[in-house]
């Protein structure tokens, strides 16, 4: 197994990880290693073809991809060594990490580690939902990746569970592509998401929202044929036929690689969490800002 030595190991090359590289470099570190499990840096930004990024940091209305590109260019000029297609499997107390990737298995010994691994989406399987488990059900993030990066179609006659920003943006993407979004299901009495998205998605595209409702059942053998929707006020249930179900029911910081490090009362003094793996940010500019703050604490 290869062994690499570095001053700083940064895990994840999304908005947070890329800005963390710049912060560390500014602080004067010269040996910086950035590990990213995907083919290129960018993170979730790369699947965002819509605008609404960078108003804070660049004072421009960029797409996610454009925002990522600006940082990728800065990254190219930096001294950081970037390992793409390499996943950090595990961090250890003795300041080493185990990495797996196209080059095989690598051990990294480091002084400090910044975890910028983003978040994963909650799934409908974790909710008390009855019925069958057919195909045609996925999270909005997966759908967005399939549509915008792989350029694939996911299906039609869509119901979306959850009205947060991600759900609304994916709904708009789908409608623009000529797909039918039959309903968005929301348990609260108002839709979620930023005002901006409510205006530009829900209102602008007249997306039907069913407030104070939940999905309690899934129907269909083979591909999904419909969902059972419960109205929280009346407790009445209705069958809503659909052929695709997307979910946008929240994000959970992804910190698996840290394992036991997180068990103590406080984090080790050489370990930092930043971006969506610290807490879930609505706006990328605040991710970038948080990462730049690392300069003063590193």
């Amino acid at each position: 197994m290869n062994t690499l030595y570095t001053d700083i190991l940064i895990i994840g090359a999304g908005a947070a990880g890329m800005a963390a590289v710049l912060a560390a470099e500014k602080k004067g570190y010269q040996k910086i290693l950035l590990a990213e499990r995907k083919e290129t840096p960018g993170g979730v930004l790369l699947q965002c073809t819509h605008r609404g990024f960078g108003l804070g940091y660049f004072r421009e209305d960029l797409t996610g991809i454009e925002y990522a590109d600006r940082f990728r260019r800065m990254l190219e000029k930096s001294c950081a060594k970037i390992l793409n297609r390499t996943m950090v499997l595990q961090l250890y107390q003795d300041r080493t990490a185990l990495l797996a990737g196209k080059d095989g298995l690598t051990r990294v010994c480091f002084e400090k580690c910044i975890m910028a691994t983003g978040c994963r989406e909650r799934t409908i399987q974790s909710l008390p939902v009855g019925g069958t488990r057919p195909s045609g059900i996925m999270t909005c993030g997966t759908a967005q990746k399939l549509m915008n990066i792989d350029k694939l179609e996911i299906g039609d006659e869509i119901v979306i569970l959850g009205t947060g920003d991600v759900g609304q943006i994916v709904a708009r993407d789908l409608i623009k592509k000529g797909r039918k979004v039959l309903a968005m299901i929301e348990q609260n009495d108002v839709p979620g998401g930023l005002k901006r998205n409510q205006e530009q998605c829900l209102k602008a595209f007249s997306i039907p929202v069913m407030l104070k409702t939940q999905i309690t059942g899934i129907c269909g053998s083979g591909r999904i044929e419909g969902v059972i929707v419960r109205h929280l006020d009346t407790e009445a249930e209705e069958f809503l036929p659909c052929r695709t179900l997307l979910t946008a029911i929240g994000m959970i910081p992804e910190r698996e690689a840290a394992g036991k490090l997180l068990e103590g009362a406080s984090l080790p003094d050489w370990f930092y969490l930043v971006g969506n793996c610290d807490y879930v940010h609505d706006i990328v500019d605040s991710v970038t800002a948080d990462a730049f703050k690392l300069e003063s604490v590193l």
């Binding site: 195909s135 045609g136 059942g217 053998s221």
Partner: protein, 505 residues
């Protein structure tokens, strides 16, 4: 097309696969037909997966005999077929006098069944073994030699071994009509006919229907439903034994299983399958599989399990649930020729035989435990029914190797000096499933071994079983399946025709 063999097996669940493997010890032509796209998609994929010791089987029954033998031999079977398993032991908990009395009876039954390795533990011993259990436990019946397993992994192991011993499996082949001929049987599927001198029905939930394609009703299956929950691996060490409650009141029972993958499986509930006619979805007429139909989970059942789990282990929060699913029990009843059914469901294993037609009908718990023994038993009876005992299969090998797992290698040897496959070692470090650390090499090997669907890969590698439930790996696996099978990405399914993952307009 016509396919001829000495033996034809209908159904490739765990029982069909082990029956095929047992028979492959003999120089016989064996065909297996399965209506689904893969093995182990029926009852075998959704059950509790406990290898029972068999102390509480009715003394003198076939179940008691087979279960003890099976549990004695289980570690060596797993060695032979390279099946991952976990020796957990089983703690059956008592919260009151009724359970204490039941335990006394079970101890005696254990003696009668020649199972001396069970004991009653007192309260302090139980809490020492399982410190997170709730208060109020009086005692426990402990069966040390209890194991847990992924049942489909067992079935797949038997399938692969049977194949390497020249058994042929045909998928997408539903037996629709059976006729008796001078020389044996003729079975028709939608596009093929099969002939064989001996016929075995291992058709799980529809075994009775298949039996009645040729013979008079004898045993009928009235299915009963069940629900399960799966907890995240991060709370997997909340228990280290199978925990089961002997309830003071009917319906209060529950079982928690530490799985091979390090999760906790909770269940099963016990409920009738709702008449689909009463269901909102079916009533509207637009849906073929509504909640309440077979294999559908029930919200009520899921919530009931959540509550029971948290009562039993207060620290086990419902927020750690990663999945729930439904299951179906093949409950057998005796049927009179006029169609009336016996009052009580049949407890012992039913193996029907009529002039060369054998059937396993309504094999419920402990069918996983006894799969190998049932296969051997069936093979013996079938061989005994032949005019001439066939010679042994000269090339039979009882062993099979499972797919090498990166996560196992890392657990055993984080320095990873172990022997990786020479062919494409780089594949073994490209992670496809982020939650379970399953590599591209494993997925490619699963495809090589016959997986054609997302679920087929999940059952063979575990990819998609973790907390993100395929959110990360599904897309990667789609591409690998496309590349390897040459299929269009829009043809790739979750679990067979009609379950396409992506739909192009």
């Amino acid at each position: 097309m016509k396919r001829t063999s000495d033996v034809l097996i209908i159904g490739a669940g765990i029982l069909g696969c082990f029956a095929a493997r047992s028979l492959s010890r003999y120089a016989l032509e064996i065909n297996v037909i399965e209506k689904r796209e893969d093995v182990c998609c029926g009852i075998t994929k959704a059950n509790t997966g406990i290898i029972y010791r068999g102390y509480d089987q009715h003394p003198g029954s076939l179940k008691a005999a087979l279960c003890k033998k099976a549990s004695d031999h289980f570690p060596s079977l797993c060695e032979e077929l390279d099946i991952p398993y976990r020796k957990t032991g089983l703690l059956m908990l008592s919260f009151g006098p009724r359970a204490d009395r039941v335990f006394q009876k079970k101890m005696e039954q254990g003696k009668e069944n020649n199972i001396p390795d069970i004991q009653i533990l007192d309260e302090s011993q139980v809490y020492q073994m399982e410190p997170l259990l709730c208060d109020g436990i009086r005692s426990a019946l402990y069966a040390e030699n209890t194991y847990t397993v992924n049942p489909w992994e067992m079935g797949i192991a038997a399938y692969e071994n049977a194949m390497s011993n020249q058994v042929h499996f045909y998928f997408g082949q539903e037996a629709m009509r059976i006729a008796r001929m001078d020389t044996g049987f003729l079975v028709e599927t939608k596009d093929h006919t099969y002939t064989a001198s001996r016929l075995i029905c291992c058709a799980g939930l529809t075994a009775d229907t298949v039996w009645e394609m040729l013979s008079k009703p004898s045993v009928k299956i009235l299915p009963l439903a069940a629900d399960y929950l799966v907890f995240d691996r991060s709370v997997g060490d909340s228990i280290s034994h199978v925990i089961s409650v002997e309830p003071e009141e009917k319906g209060d029972g529950i079982t928690l299983v530490p799985t091979v993958d390090g999760n906790i499986l909770a269940g099963p509930t016990r409920r009738s399958i709702k008449d689909p006619a009463h269901c909102t979805a079916a009533a509207s007429g637009c849906c073929t599989a509504a909640p309440g139909s077979e294999t559908a989970a029930d919200v009520g059942g899921i919530l009931e399990l959540q509550q029971k789990c948290q009562k039993l282990i207060p620290s086990l929060s419902p927020s750690m649930i990663i999945r729930s699913f439904g299951a179906v029990r093949p409950n057998p009843y005796y049927a009179e020729p006029d169609g009336t059914l016996s009052q009580k469901s049949i407890n012992d294993f039913q193996i029907l035989e009529e002039d060369g037609f054998f059937a396993l009908i309504g094999i419920k718990t402990p069918g996983i435990t006894c799969a190998d023994e049932l296969g051997r038993y069936l093979a013996q009876r079938l061989i005994g029914s032949l005019e001439h005992k066939p010679p042994l299969n000269p090339s039979f090998s009882p062993s099979r190797k499972g797919i090498l797992r990166l996560s196992d290698l890392l657990r055993d040897d984080p320095g990873l000096t172990a022997n990786l496959p020479q062919s494409a070692p780089a594949d073994y470090f490209e992670i496809i499933c982020r939650c379970e650390h399953i590599s591209k090499g494993e997925v490619l090997e699963a495809i090589r071994r016959g997986a054609t669907t997302i679920d087929g890969i999940k059952r063979r590698t575990g990819a998609g079983m973790g907390r993100c439930q395929g959110g990360y790996c599904m897309e990667k696996i789609l591409h690998l399946l496309k590349e390897q099978t040459g299929k269009d990405v829009y043809e790739i399914t979750k679990d067979g025709p009609g379950s396409e993952i992506l739909i192009k307009l």
